[in-house]
Symmetry: C2
Subunit: 146 residues, 2 copies
DNA sequence: CTGTAATTGAAAAAGACTTTCATTTGAGAC
DNA sequence: GTCTCAAATGAAAGTCTTTTTCAATTACAG
């Protein structure tokens, strides 16, 4: 699921960023999460690893990590952005409506479709954002039990 | 592009909402826009039609119109939500990275893909959000001229 | 170990969004 | 047309999120 810690840390260093205690805390927090976390949630959980982790630092670090490509923003219905660790390569997310659990899926089959869109609209397509919502297996079970 | 004004207005009435001056202003503003507008932008532009259009009203109205289905939120890179008039049915948006111009595309070809995702992940898929980014024809031209 | 530039947290500021409430207004009843 | 009343409105205040500023701290190269 999560690329191992050292690999992520190396990514930061390669881009000329230091590996500090707060940043380690944020990485570990994200690695342990099974759903997208808001900056505030990351701070709260991260304090387990770095007692006085500041919210400001969380924002700054998320920005850096997103640039570097080890973190991805996910669109969550309420409150817009959550963040998850990124698997390298092209991926999309399936988010559970009930518990926000996230599964990353690799590979998408939009190639042909996007070409047709390009022709129809005259746009030069540079990227796309696909997010799938549903109900995860656990929550489906829970529903039946009620 | 935009469904005609009366149709939109009827939609509101059908759902038991009144058609007020501020709401008309917001509809006309969105109808005249060629890119997603933030609530603040809608207020600013809308004041051309309703001098003292309040920001609070814009928020409230956008919520109603989104519920009713005549407006859609679009994910914009900076600042999360923009709003555009919705064409009835299932559509996606192609957004220009440079000028934010939006084209709505109808029909998407994710059916088969989504089924496979459901099988692989065990999720019951309930919806998806696809947004395509690119550079519109105009901006491509402009680039060549520079 | 030491020097230094990057990074940090706190405080303050800016911004986005919501709630509350007295006033106004649309639209159906007459 | 005009009356009536619930729905809708704008202003003000409040809350929450995000950014900026700045002095103190820290990672890490040498």
């Amino acid at each position: 699921m999560a690329a191992d810690f050292d690999t992520l840390a190396d990514h930061l260093r390669e881009h000329g960023h230091k590996l500090t205690r707060p940043r380690r805390a944020i990485l570990r927090t994200l690695a342990a999460a099974s759903k997208p976390l808001s900056p505030a949630e990351i701070q709260a959980r991260g304090q387990a690893f770095c007692t006085d982790l500041g919210l400001v630092t969380v924002y700054r670090t998320l920005e850096i990590m997103t640039d570097v490509g080890i973190v991805r923003p996910v669109h969550v219905v309420d409150g817009c952005h959550g963040y998850v660790l990124a698997t390298p390569g092209h991926t999309h997310h399936v988010v559970c409506e009930r518990c926000n659990a996230v599964i990353e899926i690799t590979g998408c089959e939009l190639g042909g479709f996007l070409e047709r869109v390009a022709q129809r609209t005259g746009y030069a397509i540079t990227g796309h954002w696909l997010e799938i919502s549903g109900v995860c297996a656990d929550c489906q079970q829970r529903e039946h039990t009620l």
